[in-house]
Symmetry: C2
């Protein structure tokens, strides 16, 4: 199979299209055009068509796309035709919030374990989950074949936790905060840095404002 280089921005948008299509489907929409998708998610129609074209021809000229079919295709592309088990490390406020985030389950992500090494947090219940000590991580990861880990731990602990996860077969990490993780080539890492996001806002409020943009 060919592996054309696909922009990450395309994957990001595909994820957004996918959820938009689910909504349209729930509303009973049967057919949709690239322009309508574009309108719904805030991009250009050409962008929508180009993004989809990386993966095949899903539409009918003169007509548009079948909502249900296209929805299924996007789920397939994103690897969401199977459920994924996920572990969360760090049971602080952020870890707790992530462990209970409903949006994950809606898309087929199942949190099967929340871990911490803080004795005051171990044993705590987070909805139907219990906070386990880190020592229990290998067992849970093995039992559920977990490939995805979410790190909601202080920066200093991140590398250590990443190592533990990778040793146990986790292949994808979502981290929070400004950490540069050292992981093997095959491990996928993406980072969400909330301070960066706020600072983009302040840059726009102050710098751009003062330069008349």
């Amino acid at each position: 199979m060919k592996a054309p280089k696909i922009p990450e921005a395309t994957i990001t948008r595909l994820s957004v299209y996918s959820r938009f299509l689910e909504r349209m489907d729930r509303q009973g929409v049967v057919t949709i055009s690239s322009g309508e998708i574009a309108e719904g998610v805030g991009v250009s129609p050409a962008q929508v068509r180009k993004d989809l074209a990386y993966f095949g021809e899903f539409g009918t000229r003169g007509v548009g796309y079948n909502v249900k079919d296209l929805m299924r295709y996007t789920l397939k592309i994103l690897g969401l035709t199977r459920p994924w088990t996920v572990v969360v490390v760090g049971a602080g406020n952020l870890g707790t919030a992530l462990s209970t985030y409903k949006g994950f389950r809606d898309r087929g992500f199942y949190i099967v374990g929340v871990f911490d090494n803080d004795l005051t947090k171990i044993g705590k219940r987070i909805q139907d989950l219990e906070v386990y000590p880190l020592e229990k991580l290998p067992e849970i990861v093995a039992r559920h074949g977990v490939k995805i880990g979410i790190l909601a731990v202080p920066g200093e602990a991140a590398q250590e936790v990443a190592d533990l996860l990778v040793q146990n077969g986790v292949e994808a990490l979502l981290t929070f905060g400004a950490v540069v993780l050292n992981v093997p080539e095959h491990v996928v890492v993406r980072n969400v840095d909330l301070s960066v996001k706020l600072e983009i806002l302040t840059f726009n409020l102050s710098f751009r404002a003062s330069h008349g943009l």
Copy 2:
């Protein structure tokens, strides 16, 4: 003043450089080269120099950059030479996590109000904050001159809350979840979509893996 178009990626990296420089400064490092910054944050040296060059000449040829000075310049560029007050709307798990996130305060962001319209949450204490009813938002925003709002509310409520914030003079919004907000031109909006992040991981785990990348 000239307003050269500055890539958003540059701002993102600047925020990362800035915190890296703070760390170096705390460690007593006086002078640093673009290569050392690059190494520390995981980009190329040319990229570091290019990013900085958008805003001036901060270094000394043959020597490098003075850590303290460059740190101050980056803070200035990002608009962080003044503190910013922030309100959080939504006192669920995510809103609570964001309200207590220490990283914000470290960078000069002060949460001055957490709001919800759920009677079971109003009055709840989140560390030194109290959850207020939405009706109290105008007063708090006005009193503290709040320009930044964080929306941690369900998608259906987002637009309504955004309108309320904008009406009261908030000019920058950080949202969570897949919402396309309709706001006036001058309002800056950035979105963090956690499901998208996880789906980028699954795409890489499944699609790329099966196409031998």
